[in-house]
Amino acid sequence: MGFFDHLMRDVRSVIDRDGGGQNEIPPLDGALSPNDRLDACLPIGEPLPGVDDVVADRDGAVYASAGRRVFKLSGQGFATRALVAEFGGDAGGLALHPDGRLLVCVAGRGLAALDPANPAPRWCEAAGGRAFAGLTSVVAAPDGRIFAVEGSVGRSPDQWRSDLMEKRRNGRLVGISPSFDAAEVLLDGLAYPYGVAIAADGNSLWFTESWAHRVSALPLDRNGAAVPEVKVGNMAGYPARLHGDGHGGFLLAMFARRTHLIEFVLKEDDFREEMIATMNPDYWIAPALAGGADCLEPMQIGSVKALGIQKPWAPPRSYGLVVHLDGEGEATDSLHSRAGGRFHGVTAACATPQGVVIAAKGTGRLLLDPGGLR
């Protein structure tokens, strides 16, 4: 990128203020004001390395995917842990179908439907002629229809960092019939759709796009061909999964915060390309689910420990954030684990009678928030 390109971009940013709206990272204020409530959550049981998604069933138990396995946790404090299934690839998004089946997104394979009565899963492996390499989330509507999102077509979910730094918009939303007979692509060209949920009234499908920092809603008319409407735009972090809270709202997990440095590197093509080509992705200037443990990771000046303490307001390498959205998409409450905190890289949160259960993938922990996020 030569001098002229940079100049032109600066000129454009002055002239075209609206187009640059995505550039400005909004401050965390209002309902998103930082706090330490996520750090105060109770870890559930032993660590679950790679814990990714968590959904609640009707009886108050939760299903959690971690690595290649899916567990069912039940009882007081979710103390009872049972292995439900193990797959050949990483298990990601989970959903419970109204007919009782458990739907699991499996990296490199597709969507598995586990029938409690039948041990062998049934698979849905492609849509629109492209195999499902990296389904990120799945949800079932009350009428039985299944919707799944694939972050980036042809890419497994563990390559999400490359997808962001290559500035791809290659995700899609897929509609799947309850019997797995038919799968059609409803939307494509999405900026890494990560989470998907059905609104409480059953009339619209909400989904997150991580690289576009937004949550959109798609009307679920029978006629199809609908256009999604942006419900929350330009968020301060990268939204991950979205689950209904059972009261008309949503629990949105943000797996990382946007930082000025990352936004800057996204504009610096020359630097970014060389970084991608020559470095281990763990050391990129890119969002991270967990950080601080390796001295080869990039570091920012404000993160220097002062008098032995990492300041919570330091620019975060990783962050923990769960946001509660109301039925209109307005944030009403949030749980934070700031720089130097314990539970980072949250990818999912679901509501249960015992409280909100949170999957902190960066830390490899399931957490219980008894405090009542609302």
Partner: protein
């Protein structure tokens, strides 16, 4: 060949027009460069378009015409510098012209008396302005406007009465003729006088106490009064001076023209104002020199004169000068307001640095740099009782000293170092420390220089400046950021001044800039002189005299290398690379008991920071676009101490890889079998037991006592 090519590309990469510009803009003398260029350009233009313009004859006659206007412009500039204005300069000039002729032709006074009397008239007229502005505190603009109108009317009145007399009377005086048409050394007398007056005024304004008072009043009248400057009196005399200068102008004019009419000096106040502002004397006051005023005056004079010669009508000329005044005033206001910002925008100029490959720090890799946990459980001393002990040192009585960010030297003593006391308060940011032979603690203090603390706690200055580099625009004689020091066997104190472009608070910018802005300086106590030993060093940090005292080891934080500088022997005066590849940014270096050295790594090189160091444009845009807190840095939240030998081979490392106890580890000091650890931003001093080392070895003994390895 390749060497020369390399150094050539290196210097091309190092050269930065932006850097030159930013440093030029910081200079006071650079400000009139644009008016000066305009002046030269204008002269060249007329020289090319008007025949015979550049001839000596023409030049001399132009000078003669110019001189009188020059005096008036000078008068105006003095008033502007005090924050006022004198619109009556033209009228005073006209009245003095009349007065001179009146004294000479009507009263028939001798020439000498005429001169003195006319100057007195000018001074008296100026004193009216001075009294009103200075003592009655009237607004200079309105006051001098009123005097302009009154004096102008008086001149016209007097002219009508005496024009006849002047036209008929004449006086035969060689002295008077000399004033009108004479020359000194080939230069017209009035121009020569103007030049002498300018010199005197320049010295008065820039070198004398009263000149400074004038400028101070112009910059802030209130502050000047608070500082005890006699504002009223100074203002009074400024207007008197202004009147006197106009009178001098009037005398020369009278001698040259021997006539007066209603147009004499009309509009001169306006031309003088345009000239002076154009030259860079600020309308807001407090800024300007006599030379700037003259540059402006010459521009306006050349322009008006040239336009007249080209046959352009007078009203067009007036309009042009009006436009110029408008532009000059606009630029004056904008420039005064935004100069600082403009400099700030272009001051940081990152350069390309090709760092050597970073050796692996992989845990268990078998490399001497492999990460381990040997510092995590270091015994903590004075937790939360010290704020950032950048350096630590122990004296002969096993007392522990730390240099902290609050400007103190904190001392711990007693069993387990539980007694804390403030040994000395120096101020600034004390960094590297060393004991000299007399057990004075010599301390490098960022922002101040090198200071000493006697054993009784008395603080004394060692040095705070060095010789200035003659070719550098930035005045580098002051020590900006003395960082670490060591003392050679002959008592000379060698210290690093890590940057001459930034301060302690902004030194991260120096690392990001990665230019050789630092230097190694030597203070010789025998002659009490300070000299720069190595200029242009990339962020020199730790300094350590080698065990044999024949060389110095110098750590370069931004290049991630350690250098050796030879103090004596066949390589005396030469600098060579001792350790080329380091996994981090080296900080302090100190002697170890077994004849090797300790080295602290304040930061660990990260792949991204290394990549950024090869991309100066990236760093430049980052500094501009990203908030300072979010700039990329080397990994500073990790503690690492290395040991290396005389050959520069790393032997072992001690780590706190995630900075649990020791982040930003900047120094370590071995003492009686223990290693003491200090950190720039840490809240403690650490210590670990060393195995298999000389348990009686102390730093003091290694420098000045029985453990010294200096060979003579």
């Amino acid at each position: 060949m390749s060497m020369t090519m390399d150094s050539f590309t290196a210097s091309v990469r190092r050269f930065s027009p932006r850097l030159l510009l930013s440093e030029l803009l910081l200079k006071q003398w650079f400000e009139p460069v644009i008016p000066f260029t305009v002046m030269i350009g204008l002269w060249l233009y007329f020289a090319l378009t008007i025949p015979d313009y550049a001839s000596t004859q023409n030049m001399l006659s132009l000078l003669r015409l110019f001189a009188e206007f020059g005096f008036v412009a000078l008068a105006m500039s003095f008033c502007l510098i005090t924050g006022g204005i004198d619109l009556s300069v033209g009228a005073i000039f006209a009245l003095c012209n009349f007065a001179a002729l009146f004294f000479l032709l009507v009263l028939e006074w001798p020439v000498g008396v005429v001169i003195v009397a006319t100057l007195a008239v000018g001074a008296a007229l100026g004193s009216i302005n001075g009294f009103l502005v200075g003592h009655l505190k009237t607004r200079p603009f309105l006051t001098t406007l009123v005097t302009l109108i009154i004096l102008r009317a008086s001149v016209n009145l007097l002219n009508t009465s005496y024009a006849q007399v002047f036209a008929t009377n004449s006086v035969d005086s060689d002295a008077w003729d000399f004033l009108g048409v004479g020359s000194v050394l080939g230069i017209p007398i009035n121009a020569a006088t103007l030049f002498v007056v300018l010199l005197v005024c320049h010295i008065f304004l820039s070198r004398s106490r009263y000149g400074w008072h004038l400028t101070a009043i112009g910059a802030s009248r209130k502050a000047a009064r608070h500082a005890g400057i006699r504002v009223r009196l100074m203002l009074f005399f400024t207007y008197v001076l202004s009147g006197t200068l106009c009178a001098a102008s009037g005398i020369f004019y009278a001698a040259r023209q021997s006539s007066t009419d209603s147009t004499t000096g009309v509009g001169w106040e306006f031309q003088a104002l345009t000239a002076v502002v154009l030259g860079g004397v600020s309308l807001a006051g407090g800024k300007g020199t006599v030379w700037r005023a003259m540059i402006g005056a010459i521009i306006i004079f050349l322009l008006i004169n040239g336009l007249v010669r080209m046959g352009i009508p007078g009203y067009v000329t007036s309009a042009v000068t009006g436009m110029i005044l408008l532009a000059a005033v606009g630029i004056d206001v904008k420039w005064a307001k935004n100069r600082g910002k403009a400099i700030q925008k272009i001051y940081v100029n990152p350069a390309f640095v090709a760092l050597a490959p970073a050796p692996s720090v992989q845990r268990g890799s078998g490399s001497p740099f492999a990460q381990n946990d040997r510092l995590i459980h270091a015994q903590a001393i004075g937790v939360d009782q010290v704020e950032g002990p950048e350096d630590v040192i122990l004296d002969r009585h096993d007392r522990l000293y730390g240099s902290t960010r609050d400007g103190n030297i904190i001392r711990f003593s007693g069993e387990n170092f539980t007694t804390r006391e403030i040994f000395a308060h120096i101020g600034g940011r004390p960094l590297g420390m060393q004991f000299d032979r007399d057990e004075n603690l010599i301390v490098a203090v960022a922002g101040m220089g090198v200071y000493g603390v006697a054993p009784d706690g008395r603080v004394f200055k060692v040095t705070d400046e060095t010789n200035r580099t003659w070719y550098k625009l930035n005045d580098d004689s002051r020590l900006r950021m003395a960082d670490d020091l060591d003392i050679a066997p002959d008592g000379k104190i060698y210290f690093s001044d890590c940057t001459t472009r930034y301060e302690m608070t902004t030194n991260t910018l120096d690392i990001l800039e990665a230019r050789p802005n630092g230097r190694l300086v030597c203070y010789d106590p025998a002659t009490k002189t300070t000299r720069t030993v190595i200029n242009h060093f990339y962020f020199p940090n730790g300094v350590c005299a080698s065990h044999d005292g024949r060389s110095l080891l110098i750590a370069s934080t931004s290049l991630c290398k350690v250098f050796r500088y030879w103090l004596e022997g066949p390589k005396k005066g030469r600098t060579e690379v001792l350790i080329d590849e380091l996994p981090g940014n080296p900080d302090n270096i100190n002697r170890a008991s077994d004849g090797t050295y300790w080295l602290a790594l304040v930061g660990i090189r990260t792949p991204t920071f290394d990549l950024a160091s090869r991309k100066p444009g990236f760093r430049l845009r980052m500094v501009k676009q990203v908030p300072a807190d979010e700039w990329l840095a080397p990994a500073l939240n990790h503690g690492c101490v290395l040991k290396f030998n005389e050959a520069g081979e790393a032997l072992e490392s001690w780590w706190d890889p995630t900075g649990i106890s020791h982040s930003t580890l900047t120094s370590m000091r071995e003492h009686k079998g223990y290693l003491y650890l200090g950190g720039l931003e840490n809240n403690r001093i650490g210590r670990i037991k060393l195995d298999g080392v000389d348990d009686t070895w102390t730093g003091y003994d290694a420098y000045w006592g029985a453990k010294s390895r200096v060979t003579r």
